[in-house]
């Protein structure tokens, strides 16, 4: 992230928590609702202590009624409050699509600018330990498809806090897509409230041979892949879009104009995904002057299986990322990183199952 002037290391879930707490402190209209936000686990720690701090009027669980509760949050937002609605898995948001797509996204426009929906939806992608088909989906593309919604995907603790605060201040519905495997990762996080602006892609690492655009926790995997590639003499530029929608593609296009090679690594399916969108923007770019080679990686075009042998093949990994990048840079190469080098970041940190 952009040289944060802090020496305090915070975990991702702590940063989410601090962001919400500060947003609630600075604006009494902010409240938080969602299944289990007030229990002793506090959404893996990310909401822990908030009910004690702000009271049960401002931090409360809900019935298992995702559809209506989304409507309630939207209505409260229209009436001037600033709700944060929390879902422990993105998969469950399929129950909220009607309210999000047909009401939240459209109200400001459909009502001629007379209504605003300052709603924040926090949602988490699950992975590993057999979470399987219905606890693993990264469905950001569906939301990015719809004008009126904003979608952000913090890949580190610094962004987790800054995007939370920005989302609460924004006057539009914003979906924050978090990742379970990032919850225990640490970065430098300033103590004071700050925002990470929407619509600005970040160059995470500069490089000259190939551009890798990575989404959510794939940023972490891409960084590991870049290490492997660097040992092979390949210089990788890594870009984290941060905001999935509205997307800042200019930063990506500039990088691709330099490297001529683009690997997009998504934390979701490829078909009609954000990886397709990025590729399409590059194809239509007015910035890029050279011919570009493009390749996409993401979830396999299957449902997510639970068993580890299949699950490993389902996800992009530092190994598959590095090999795909190598293939773009040097199609003749038969290089394959060895398995010890490829151990995934999360394998050290995450102990499942939820």
């Amino acid at each position: 992230m952009s040289t944060p002037n802090s020496t305090r290391l915070l975990k991702y879930y702590e940063a989410l928590n601090e962001g919400a707490a500060q947003a609630m402190s600075e604006d009494h209209r902010v409240f938080m609702m969602g299944l289990d936000v007030d229990d002793h686990k506090g959404i893996q720690g990310s909401t822990l202590g908030l009910v004690e701090k702000f009271g049960a009027e401002r931090v409360f669980t809900t019935p298992l009624s995702e559809d209506a509760m989304t409507g309630v949050a939207i209505g409260a937002a229209m009436a001037g409050q600033r709700p944060i609605h929390v879902h422990i898995r993105m998969d469950f948001m399929m129950l909220c699509m009607n309210q999000l797509v047909n009401i939240a996204a459209k109200s400001h426009y459909m009502y001629g600018g007379t209504v605003q929906v300052p709603l924040v939806v926090r949602t988490m992608i699950g992975k590993s330990w057999g979470q399987g088909a219905q606890h693993s989906q990264g469905l950001h593309a569906m939301f990015a498809h719809v004008p009126g919604l904003k979608v952000v995907a913090p890949s580190n603790a610094h962004d987790a806090k800054g995007l939370t605060i920005q989302a609460v201040r924004d006057n539009n519905p914003v979906i924050i897509m978090e990742h379970r495997l990032l919850y225990s990762t640490e970065s430098y996080v300033p103590e004071k409230p700050y925002v990470v602006e929407f619509g600005q892609s970040r160059v995470v690492e500069e490089g000259s041979d190939i551009t890798i655009v990575a989404i959510s926790n794939m940023v972490v995997e891409a960084i590991r892949a870049a290490e492997l590639l660097s040992a092979q003499g390949i210089s990788v530029e890594i870009i984290d879009p941060v905001t999935i929608s509205p997307l800042d593609s200019a930063t990506i296009e500039k990088s691709v104009d330099k490297t001529g090679k683009l690997l997009i690594v998504d934390n979701g399916w490829l078909n009609c995904g954000i990886s397709a969108e990025i590729s399409a923007r590059v194809a239509e770019s007015e910035i890029i002057t050279r011919r570009v080679q493009v390749k996409r990686l993401g979830f396999a075009a299957t449902t997510c299986p639970t068993t580890p042998t299949l699950e490993n093949a389902f996800y992009p990994s530092p190994k598959s990322i590095a090999m795909a990048a190598m293939n773009l840079c040097n199609p003749q190469s038969s290089w394959e990183p060895n398995d010890a080098q490829c151990e995934l970041a999360y394998q050290k940190q995450f102990k499942g199952p939820f």
Binding site: R29, F31, E57, R58, T62, P63, S65, D67, A68, M69, T70, G71, V72, A73, I74, G75, A76, A77, M78, A79, G80, Q81, N98, Q99, N102, I103, S107, H108, Y109, M110, Y111, G112, G113, T114, V115, Q116, V117, P118, P147, G148, K150, N171, N172
Partner: protein, 317 residues
């Protein structure tokens, strides 16, 4: 709403305004000037008139795509509504909404939705905001019988009852969803009884008795302002027009004019009008005609939005 009038006159004025407005809409409609699907509530206006008579300016009301009456009763500008139907930039949503998504935030008209049932939880959200802000305002949300079949209806009632939110749910049961009769959709007719299991006051009105509705709702809303929590009423009623469009459709075979007769004979516009002195009634009628004519003129003379405005309001600043 003219406060110096008697209750009867005030209610009459409201019912008549809505009725006449929709009749004029139906007259204009074949000209294709109104390029918006219109869902008329002719015959059903007495419900929103009775209920909304109890609301203050700071209270909220939410209707459906069949929402002209709710919009007008809550104080929405007739000019802005008519212009909206015409797709003009002076419309209440600057031409982006048409008849199905009326809104007027200054008068507490919650934006309406053309996806059945979706307005219900949104209205509950307004009630939640009221509770959080600790004011004594209330919300009324109108819905059809069909809307109660949507899961979000049950979810919304439960949440509102759980949190004792200041909201009145009004089911306008015209026994039809488009052309489908209620017995093809409801396992039993016991909705009011069902809602009462959520521990909230409920009442069913099987006749078009505007005063009975008015009285019951008045009492409930008073208690609601003091924190009593939500309430539900079911009003049987009859839709005179086709589901969407300007015409009647008793000739289409899916319902009969005979079955409609008890309702049409007891038209509240007439029964209520008969309680007024003819002179008073005439003066109200005249005022209404003028008002509607002005609105039509306003709509006709207003400009269409400039195509360049297409990208305005995608995101709020």
């Amino acid at each position: 709403m003219n406060e110096s009038l008697s209750l009867n006159a005030r209610l009459y004025e409201q019912v008549a305004l809505i009725r006449r407005t929709e009749e004029v809409i139906a007259e204009i409609y074949p000209s294709d000037k109104i390029k918006s699907p219109v869902h008329l509530a002719i015959g059903q206006e007495y419900i929103c008139a009775a209920v909304i008579e109890h609301l203050k300016a700071s209270d909220y009301a939410c209707g459906t795509y069949r929402g002209h009456g709710v919009y007008l009763a809550k104080g929405g500008s007739l000019n802005s509504m008519m212009a909206e139907l015409y797709g003009k930039s002076t419309g209440c949503a600057k031409g982006r909404a048409g008849s199905m998504h009326l809104v007027e935030s200054q008068h507490g008209v919650i934006g309406m939705s053309a996806v059945v049932g979706t307005g219900i939880p949104v209205a509950v959200g307004y009630a939640l905001a009221i509770k959080q802000k600790k004011t004594t305002d209330v919300v009324v949300v109108f819905m059809g019988d069909g809307a109660t079949e949507e899961g979000c209806f049950s979810e919304s009632i439960n949440f509102a009852a759980l949190h004792k939110l200041p909201i009145l749910f009004v089911c306008e049961n015209n026994q039809l969803a488009i052309h489908e009769p209620i017995d093809k959709r409801w396992a039993t007719p016991h909705i009011t009884q069902r809602v009462s299991t959520y521990g909230i006051p409920t009442k069913q009105f099987s006749k078009p008795d505007i005063f009975a509705i008015h009285e019951y709702v008045g009492e409930q809303i008073k208690q609601m302002r003091q924190g009593a929590g939500p309430c539900f009423i079911e009003c049987f009623t009859h839709r005179w027009s086709e589901h969407v469009g300007p015409n009647e459709d008793y000739d289409q075979g899916y319902r009969s004019l005979e079955a409609a007769e008890p309702w049409r004979k007891n038209d509240v516009l007439i029964t209520l009008g008969e309680t007024l002195a003819p002179a008073l009634r005439d003066s109200i009628d005249t005022k209404i005609e003028t008002k509607i004519q002005e609105a039509v003129n306003f709509a006709e003379q207003s400009p269409f939005p400039d195509p360049k405005e297409l990208y305005d309001y995608v995101y709020a600043k």
